[in-house]
Amino acid sequence: MSAPLLSIRGLRAGYGPIDVLHDMDLTVHSGEIVAMIGANGAGKSTTLMAISGVVRPRAGEVRFDGHDLRALPAHQIVCLGLAHSPEGRKIFPRLTVLENLQMGAFSRTNPQEIAADLESAFTMFPILRERMHQAGGLLSGGQQQMLAIARALMIRPKLLLLDEPSLGLAPQIVSQIFNVIRDLNQKGVSVLLVEQNARMALKIAHRGYVLETGRITLADKAETLLHDPRVRAAYLGE
């Protein structure tokens, strides 16, 4: 197989005196959806933060598309085509929907390409076009999640890190969001998906990782994980 798009080896990261991630290995290949599941506090969000550079790794190697991410600050990592839609949406509440999307394109310079991507964001989520000039904070939870994903896509990423996109959303919206993730992936965007909704995540993913207290305990084809008795007992509520 060709070199992975994202490869993490021996990653250690944490906050203050505490290490949250210990000796983590993880890869995402071009074209893949990779799911990461784990209990609350296992370190899933920390993993994504360590990749995008908001949390600085303490040891190990993080490589993306031929670049050593540990050598770059967060705002330059984005420019390599690595988008991160963080947990809890984190949209800009007092910027308009349009301005939120423009911030997504902050690192880009070609106005024609930006306009084209804005158009496809509006096609993907028509409600955002309707609410274009409204403050982001006035959107409903599901609409804010759509905005967060659309904003991350304005980076025109090769790899999209998604942290709990289904959190707090009605089942209908959740399936809409998962459909969008699958469509994006078919258009060539690789995805690293962190989810509480382990079943849906493993259903659309190619491969999956199980994270327990900062260590990868299982790594396999998503299909296999779905039928693994340990996964079924701990994360699928069976």
Binding site: A74, H75, P86, L95, M103, F106, S107
Partner: protein
Amino acid sequence: MLVMWAAFDWTNFGQQTINGLTIGALIALIALGYTMVYGIVELINFAHGDLFMLGCFLALSLVSVFGLNEAGVLATMPWWRILGPVLLCFLVIPLFCAGLNLAVDRVVYKPLRNAPKLAPLVSAIGVSFIFMNIGLFWGGAQDVNFPDLVAAAWPEKSADGERIQTGIVRNLLADSDTGLRFTVKDAMVIGVTVPLMLALSLFVSFTKTGKAMRATAQNPVAAQLMGINVDWVIGVTFLIGGAMAGFGSVMYALTLNTVGYQMGFQNGLYAFTAAVLGGIGNIYGAVLGGIVIGLVRSLGSEYVGETWTSALVFAVLIVILVFRPSGLLGSRTPEKV
């Protein structure tokens, strides 16, 4: 009641309002620096008032270089020889204050960005004292006169319209029958402050950097994830805040004609109060707060008494915060949820 109404001196009231607006505009210029920095890094930059003070001292040194600070020299000087140094002040002082503000951020606050909030706050108080001591060294312990350049360049005409009266600034409303004084100084303060604020508002609303500033203020982590260099945005904020204080310095010195090392403390406190009153973090709030405080100071000292002015300003602050805890234009819900 009706008698009181009729007896009320509206001209005096109007005059105090004009004075209040002028002083309010100056306070607002300083308040912008407090509010913008707080909006982005949640730091109350206590040194900001003293930055303003140093700007005043640099203006004094600059006009002294041109010999405008020597006794009697202004009386015979043509207006165009005064205008040059004044314009130079408007160029140099904002640049100086912007650069110094940025330097303080890079040297003192930036290394403490991830430290507990109290660390940069105490450092800001430290920088304030350092600035004050520089001011003390620069200008001495006594208040110093700043030459009345505006009055020298644009003096009042005497009643016959010919002979000019030296030392009194021209009243632009002299030919009207309002009985009010709106001087060249008032016009300068309003004429500089209003375009500056409009420019700032347009910048923050419509430019890419301005939008990045607002995004960073609302959520710095998300801003980083958009590829915004947060440190750079913070730097721009300190530059703009410093430049605004610098414009305030020049106009304060030219208008009130007294500078002293303690002026940063008092005016900084009023400006900080204006920022809180308007809703800290909100640039329109800082402008509104500045105007409210200017009016309260001016009208209060006229109708309540000079000694009560400061007490009155803070009484107004407290009353407003009781009813609107996050200030006049502050967002009602906390920002970071």
